[in-house]
Symmetry: C2
Subunit: 243 residues, 2 copies
DNA sequence: AGTAACTGTGTCTGCCGGACACAATAATGT
DNA sequence: ACATTATTGTGTCCGGCAGACACAGTTACT
């Protein structure tokens, strides 16, 4: 698994030359996932797009799980190079770059959940995210937690605006909207604040990414300011804002 | 679908009495998902735990998608009743309640992604979350975005600490940790900040929930303060902290 | 030339979701 | 009381899925 993700060469010896490469398999899988969703990616379907049979794929990949892992790390790609700048701006564009990646390959939201082996590209994203925070006075753990909370937010915003093909209910987007509106009106008494909030927010959709991002960055700013504001040699406790 | 989620009675007429109920089916499914993961929930497996055959389930549920939706809303349950209090405290405990729910039924993290029809319990959670924010001066859209960002954070923290049974790679948790440490040491040159951050954060695991939560609440606090600080009748623009 | 390692193929199994025809059941109309 | 009719549960069947395995062909090393 780890070897696959990190592209260790199998060091060819004897036997026939492989007809394809792991990269080609992954590329075929990515193309299918992009076009038809992750559920459309089956070993058979991938093999159909390559000059081999289904079972030949198992010479390159132990199982489907691993194939998807390789696909995921590859599709994620390297983060774009960005010039240095103030941490807030850096993290802000980093978040947007991440968001772009997830909208380019929405199935990544399905394939990269839970504990899993991390590939080189995913680690590079983390490294890049940490880069902006090195001079902020945050501890290592805090830096990790910081990019984690940003990642979480970006992921879920991207998720929210995505309808995954595959486990569709047969309902169109329209149908869902309508039945939701219907429920909300018939059950309005049970959800007064929800109804009110949705009424006043109608029309101003898709602000979620920036709103949450700004709140998170504001929160980080507060913590960072309290850290760097401490002159050398003077010990103070940061303001405890919990509760 | 909507009817199922909202428990509309099918209004019995003629024909044999149903041997089971939708609630029983959902309960069986939840039990399986809790014990063996969402992937272990198949129509056959659910029917095995009930006095009917697999195909009988389709008299109660149009398909597996809908079954999982019903299971999810039911497993989510109603949010615990909490006394009123300051918005920050309210939202804080709300987030922890949500976290508890996700750790009780980790498969909810898999089954409740993307756009989907929302059930009564899920809406009640939203309503409850909004309840704490009504007197904060935030607009409806901002309130929704606020609870969304909190939810996102809670979800991804819960996700992070969960290993989903089902698409396991055969690796134990230990193996994964070890191979990760190995990679990180051999490739340390490529990920200097990551290595540094992980070294200094070793031991202080599982702080992610509180850390991110406090940052988010701090950020919200800043926005809310800027709103309520505006005396009646005086128009001011909130400080633009973007970038 | 012989052997050993490696690749691709075809066949097979067990699982999945779901379509469909059919018999049993229970309320309704006469 | 009896026929009608809607509804329930069952058994069978289909296509698709991941993967195990034996086997034949291919290549490099001895």
């Amino acid at each position: 698994m780890t070897e696959l993700l990190w592209g260790k060469e199998p060091a060819r010896t004897r036997g026939p030359k492989p007809a394809i490469t792991l990269a080609e398999i992954a590329a075929a899988g990515i193309a299918i996932a992009d076009a038809e969703g992750l559920d459309a990616v089956s070993m058979q379907r991938v093999a159909d797009d390559l000059p081999v049979t289904k079972m030949a794929l198992y010479r390159y990949v132990p199982g489907k799980t691993e194939l998807v892992a390789v696909m995921s790390d590859l599709a994620m790609g390297k983060p774009p190079e960005r010039p240095d700048g103030p941490w807030r701006e850096t993290l802000h564009t980093w978040a947007h770059d991440l968001y772009d990646g997830f909208t380019r390959h929405p199935w990544l939201l399905q394939s990269t959940i839970g504990r899993r082996p991390l590939g080189p590209n995913e680690l590079t994203w983390m490294e890049q995210g940490l880069a902006g925070l090195t001079d902020t006075g945050l501890t290592g753990g805090e830096q990790l937690d910081a990019i984690l909370v940003v990642t979480s937010h970006v992921r879920n915003i991207a998720q929210q605006s995505t309808t995954f093909p595959g486990h569709s209910t047969g309902l169109t987007e329209e149908d869902m909207q309508r039945s939701f509106a219907e429920i909300l009106s018939t059950e309005a008494a049970r959800f007064p604040r929800l109804v009110a909030a949705m009424r006043t927010s109608a029309g101003s959709e898709n602000q979620g990414l920036e709103f949450g991002l700004q709140r998170i960055l504001d929160g980080l700013d507060l913590l960072i300011s309290s850290r760097v504001a401490v002159p050398d040699g003077i010990e103070t406790l940061p303001v405890d804002r919990r509760r």
